[in-house]
Symmetry: C2
Subunit: 419 residues, 2 copies
């Protein structure tokens, strides 16, 4: 129901591999977030066996409940793939060999240097009267069935195939039919401020929001995503309202906002370093290489990132990073004095403009009364111009590592913005 | 139906946060795998809104379909938590303040240095006639309802609370009622051999398996989990069959098997290093610190791990790891000659017995005709006694990093086993 404020979706995830836990269903969360962006409410998700009756019943029940049904899986060429057959049954359509879809499959396989076989012929036997969409990264096409105000979409289960098809091919069709042009959303990404503090800062802002605008918080470990959605009489009006309030939001939260949409902290930091032609090295103790991993997960990071010393012992801190024996004795390995020396040491050694240095107690062992598990000291900046911070985290080992890494990267981002 | 070969489970995941994609449902896959281990077949999963009618209908439909219903979520103290009310309705029970559960909550909060409030009192208002199980890591207790052959279990949604309660408190009760003593399972973990090759090696083994034994493959990026399940007339007989065939399986696959159950490659490597009192350092180029991260994700790794040099430029490879200019010129940064010198360099510098060194092209840029994206060279061992390997991977950047890291750790494991 285009323009309606409540298009309701039911998602069906088909495949025995999901029910035995062989494959993690990463499609569910991604798809739910996409649909929220598009103003569609997911009212139920089901994970189903590769069983004709089960799948058919699920489509029938979903058809009763929702305006949009999206299924994933069961579109492959083998016998346990039965979504096409069930859809033919459900839509009262014939199964027929589809020349066009077969030519897509053939071209795809040829691009891979392979040829088609009889299984691929089976994969092109599809219900008549549906719309098909070419899969650029695999053999299974997407299918779309419309009746009245309702739509069924069947997608392959492989995450990147599903994502490409849904956003590139299916979205334009949904936009015509189910998605209001008059809804616009944007997501501001913040780091370093807890959700409760953000909510406090935004109290006045929220109180004066017009009814056409809604705000939602999606908190993560260090980051909070703030989604603004504007609904108006026209597309341009919605865009205008969204612009106005997202700018206001940004000016209230200031440099806590590091980006929009799908940006990452490490990607934003990389962009800053590249733009300013600055080089970076890291010196890690408790984070054990995870900061280096985050930074190097960005393609092209070798342009600005020189490397890291993971110093997991005091000997390495002294021998490789030039931390003074007296500093370690007087202040300990987990201290602002030590990370400051680690920072200077790694910048000097790797001849970089900037550094990040971290030392802490990730746990579960190693804590003391004075410095309990979760104590983490961070230094960022230049050898002679730096910021120091001591955090007290209270997660488990892996989350303490992840959280201190993100906090450290965020500190350097803020250092550069303030520079 | 204890002893039956087909206890059927329906899983209900309750919470709006799952339907908007705010929280990833990591419980689903974990729970499904646990149930398979216990010989229980999951026939459906549903993710549901925080809506009384919706939840009640889902319990009713699940009761028709399954022998065991497990729900997560909706047990908190706020108004959108309504699992307890729905269960009272479903089980035709009264809601009553439960003194014992309240004392658990009180003790838990006191341990955290906090006191209870009126919301916690609400959380202790529970249906009569159900069994309650104490949550050691939170306030929401687990609930269990039995009628005839069927069982409903309601668990909190927080993953570690759910996992503790299901395995420590609920499992013993399910074992009495629904889980056959005569089913035993074990999972062998292999690394470095693709599933197709394992299947080839196990062809004869599979052909001579008795009917009482089943085998399943769960392939991952570098690792394949092989699950053996034995069903017999008695517990001891099942155990005996499982022992016999898992030993046979292990002897066929040899040192490709690195562990059992939930062990990790980095954990097994850590155990080997500790046992043999050996120290380790790493030198990473394309993996960018991910190997260091995996190794230091193991608690207690500072006993054997000294640290890493992440050398993301040729200057660092030369200056910090002593790779010869002539080697880089003649063979390139991605070559077995270079990683051999990186290995020797880092062992010398960090004064360790052993090293891992990796250099490669993670992509998407940086490839050439001769060395395409995905080319990765690995050296493991001692400066004068090492193994070299060149891999050709074909994943995206992040998966190439993850895969080469796991392959490198596995190479050192095999080196130590062969030592």
């Amino acid at each position: 129901m285009k323009g309606s404020t409540n298009t309701r979706a039911v998602l069906l995830f088909i495949g025995d591999e999901l029910l035995i836990g062989q494959t993690e269903n990463t499609n569910a969360g991604w798809m739910a977030r996409k649909l929220v962006e598009w103003g569609i409410e997911t009212i139920e998700m089901r994970t189903l066996m590769d069983d004709r009756e089960v799948i058919k019943n699920a489509f029938e029940e979903a058809w009763e409940k929702g305006d949009l049904i999206i299924s994933t899986g069961g579109l492959g060429p083998t016998n346990d793939d039965m979504t096409a057959e069930v859809l033919a049954d459900f839509c009262r359509a014939e199964l027929e060999f589809n020349e066009e879809v077969f030519s897509w499959i053939k071209e795809y396989k040829e691009k891979q240097g392979q040829s088609v076989n009889s299984l691929h012929e089976k994969q092109a036997v599809l219900p008549t009267g549906l719309q098909y969409f070419r899969n650029e990264s695999g053999t299974a096409p997407a299918m779309l069935y419309e009746k009245g105000d309702k739509v069924i979409v069947a997608l392959p289960g492989v995450p990147y195939e599903m994502k490409e098809l849904l956003t590139d091919k299916i979205y334009p069709r949904l936009k015509e039919k189910l998605i209001s042009d008059n809804l616009k959303t944007t997501t501001l990404l913040t780091a370093g401020i807890p959700e409760s503090e953000i909510a406090g800062q935004l109290e006045d802002f929220e109180n004066q929001l017009p009814k056409s605008l809604s705000i939602a918080y999606l908190p993560g470990l260090v980051r909070v995503r703030i989604r603004l959605s504007a609904r108006a009489d026209s597309e341009s009006k919605a865009e205008e309202v969204l612009q106005k309030y997202s700018q206001e939001l940004q000016s209230i939260l200031g440099d806590a906002v590091y980006g929009r949409g799908e940006e990452t902290l490490e990607g934003v930091l990389g962009g800053l370093l590249k733009k300013n032609n600055l080089s970076l090295a890291t010196a890690e103790s408790c984070t054990g290489g995870y900061i280096a991993h985050l930074i190097t997960s960005v393609a092209g990071s070798s342009d600005y990132y020189k490397g890291s010393v993971v110093a997991y012992s005091n000997e390495i801190k002294k021998g490789q990073l030039g931390v003074k024996e007296s500093t370690l004795e007087e202040y300990g390995a987990v201290s602002e004095e030590t990370v400051r020396e680690m920072l200077a040491g790694v910048c000097h050694k790797f001849q970089t403009d900037l550094g990040i240095a971290v030392s802490g107690i990730a746990g579960p062992g190693g804590g003391s009364e004075e410095k309990p598990v979760g104590t983490v000291c961070v230094a960022v900046g230049r050898p002679d111009d730096y910021r120091l911070e001591t955090y007290q985290l209270n997660q488990n080992r892996l989350l303490n590592i992840e959280k201190s890494s993100l906090l450290a990267i965020n500190m350097l981002r803020l250092f550069l913005w303030g520079d």
